[in-house]
């Protein structure tokens, strides 16, 4: 037993190597992913990071929305949402319109809870950009004066 304990992993026969190598590589890869993310702040698989509040809303990233609001970002300020998220080209929207565009009533509600108060123009844009019934019913409850529940066909 003592000599067996003292044995070293000098040579692995092929079948032993065939069984042992995949788990070893798997564990190393897992830790490398975590280390890379920890060092660079970018996850190798999920690396979409918002640049403003509107984009955070468009990315359904409620944590980023809450952090940006806590850091003092204006809930009613338009921001650029990169191409391919809402439209093929980049677009500039207020956060609530970005949330409406992705048909995410939960995100619209979160923005309202955090204090978003869109003016008539912004509200109407949010209303018209989304055809989701739950988003529209939520917006209807917070319609500012002068905003109309109707959209002009483009």
């Amino acid at each position: 037993m003592a000599s067996a304990n003292m044995a070293r992993l000098n040579k692995l026969n092929p079948i032993v190597a065939a069984v042992a190598i995949p788990p070893v590589l798997g564990a190393i890869a897992w830790l490398v992913v975590l280390a890379m993310t920890g060092v660079s702040g970018h996850h190798p698989i999920w690396d979409l990071q918002s640049r403003n509040l509107a984009e955070a809303a468009a990315f359904r990233d409620s944590g980023a929305v809450a952090r940006r609001v806590a850091a003092g970002e204006d809930l009613n300020r338009p921001g650029e949402v990169r191409a391919g998220v809402i439209r093929p080209a980049s677009t500039t929207l207020v956060p609530i319109a970005a949330a409406a565009a992705i048909r995410e009533a939960g995100m619209v509600q979160l923005l309202l809870d955090l204090g978003a108060s869109p003016d008539a123009d912004a509200w109407q844009r949010a209303w018209c950009i989304s055809d989701a019934a739950d988003v529209r019913s939520l917006l209807a409850l917070h319609r500012p004066q002068g905003a109309l529940e109707e959209c002009v066909a483009p």
Partner: protein
């Protein structure tokens, strides 16, 4: 060049897995569901003892130590360090579980090392392992029971003595008063003694049996808490999930059939990764014509591994081989799987089977080790085919194991989303607490959760993780 011993290499590999899992656990907020209510209750309770006492009278269950532990950790957090204390405790438990699992293997050769590497990916890749990391209430009690069971097996493999017996009795008591699954500690000790691992002596077993009888008296006579009824929760049945009313309608007058189904499917779930939580997911996916790798890989890897366990068992029985550690791991593993399944009679879910899953990985260790030792005697073609089979199997389990990272990232993002909306949701539903201390607690927990910067798994993600790993 540094050449570690097989034992050191195994501990090194186990440390890598533990570190990866612990990092992923720490990178996750405390969850809202099943946790916030417990934390509020803990805050209201005047002491750990008061929490323990109040839990003695709860309906259907006897889990006073579960509630007392939440109170103790909650006090330790001192109104500010909840994330650190609860997630830290979860990560610590996980590290201890991986260490105890590795220690009990007693690796001494390169063959043992390979089998241990395989066992580690089986442990962390089996769907039942998810129950030990995916959720916490706010402590993951299934993981605690797993630690207790693995500690007991380590004690059984020790040289024994009065302190070993006393420790086994204490571990059993603590586990039994935490969750019903804690009774499996007694099963582990008995099975280990039966196969010849007698670090826990007959005297120690007798003491544990007296404690088991004491538990039964407490559970059914002194403070009769009754049994969970069919109306408590939904449960999987064949291809669907039945809600409590449907369960009552179908099985209310003859629950034995439903209980038998739960026990049988629990055993199958561990051995074949199908069904899961009572639902035949792979069959349903096949019927719906959406058979993805995430459905196929678990079933195939589990079926082949179970086949290897069966092969090793049959070969040994036919050759009348003497009982060695390979056989012992398989026998103890099967005993715990059977007992865990029996305990799942009233409802089956992956979390409850996490102990059975870990002991399945121990049985797999025995079977793979046996296969590796047998392979050199095979003819060349058979040996090559067997090598390819084991390599593919090892890759399959490694892929399953790596799904842990995916799962924990998804969960972390979900938990954070739950916290961000919580205050608004509770205020709209009239559930916002009037008590200032409770409000502070919610704000504290929400602040901890929102403060974590997490990878966004909801948008822009590639499709391949969804195809490979279940969420």
């Amino acid at each position: 060049m540094l050449r570690p011993s097989p034992r050191a290499a195994t501990y090194g590999l186990a440390a890598l897995f533990a570190l990866a899992l612990m990092s992923d656990l720490l990178w996750m907020p405390i969850q809202v569901g099943d946790s916030l209510g417990e934390l509020i209750e803990a805050q209201r309770s005047p002491s750990v003892w008061a929490s323990f006492e109040s839990a003695l009278g709860s309906n259907g269950y006897l889990r006073p130590l579960r509630i007392a532990q939440i109170k103790a950790l909650s006090d330790l957090a001192q109104d500010s360090n909840y994330w650190l204390v609860f997630r830290g405790f979860h990560a610590l438990l996980l590290g201890v579980a991986v260490f105890l699992f590795t220690r009990v293997l007693r690796v001494s050769t390169s063959t043992d090392f390979a089998a241990a590497a395989f066992a580690l990916v089986t442990l962390t890749g089996l769907h039942t392992f998810r129950g030990t990391v995916q959720e916490a209430f706010p402590i993951n009690h299934f993981l605690e029971i797993l630690v207790c069971c693995l500690l007991t097996l380590n004690l059984a493999r020790s040289r024994g003595g009065i302190w070993v017996d006393a420790t086994a009795a204490i571990v059993f008591s603590a586990a039994a008063l935490t969750l019903e699954s804690g009774l499996l500690v007694w099963v582990v000790a008995c099975a280990a003694w039966t196969v010849g691992w007698r670090g826990i002596s007959i005297r120690g077993l007798a003491l544990m049996t007296v404690l088991l009888l004491g538990y039964m008296y407490l559970r059914f006579v002194f403070v009769p808490n009754g049994m969970p009824t069919l109306l408590e929760r939904s449960s999987g049945f064949w291809l669907t999930v039945l809600d409590p009313t449907e369960l009552q309608q179908r099985f209310g007058s003859r629950p034995l059939g439903f209980y038998s189904y739960n026990v049988a499917t629990s055993v199958m779930s561990v051995l074949f990764s199908e069904p899961q939580a009572g639902v035949f997911e792979a069959v349903r996916a096949w019927l719906d014509d959406r058979v993805l790798p995430r459905v196929v890989v678990p079933v195939v890897t589990s079926a082949i591994t179970t086949g290897l366990i069966l092969w090793a068992t049959t070969r040994r029985a036919v050759n009348r081989q003497a009982l060695d550690d390979t056989a012992r791991f398989i026998i103890v593993g099967m005993a715990v799987i059977g007992a865990n399944a029996a305990l799942s009679f009233s409802y089956t879910k992956n979390d409850i089977l996490s102990i059975a899953g870990a002991f399945y990985a121990l049985a797999a260790y025995g079977a793979i080790r046996d296969g590796l030792l047998t392979a050199p005697a095979m003819q060349r073609t058979a040996r090559i085919a067997f090598t390819v089979l084991l390599c593919v199997l090892s890759v399959g389990w490694t892929i399953r194991s790596a799904g842990g990272h995916y799962l924990l990232r998804l969960q972390a993002f979900r938990h954070q989303a739950d916290w961000t909306v919580l205050p608004g949701l509770r205020q709209r539903n009239g559930q916002w607490p009037s008590d200032l201390a409770e409000q502070r607690l919610i704000h504290q927990l929400r602040g901890d959760a929102v403060g974590l910067v997490l990878p966004n798994t909801r948008v822009g993600d590639p499709q391949w993780p969804v195809q490979i790993w279940p969420d």
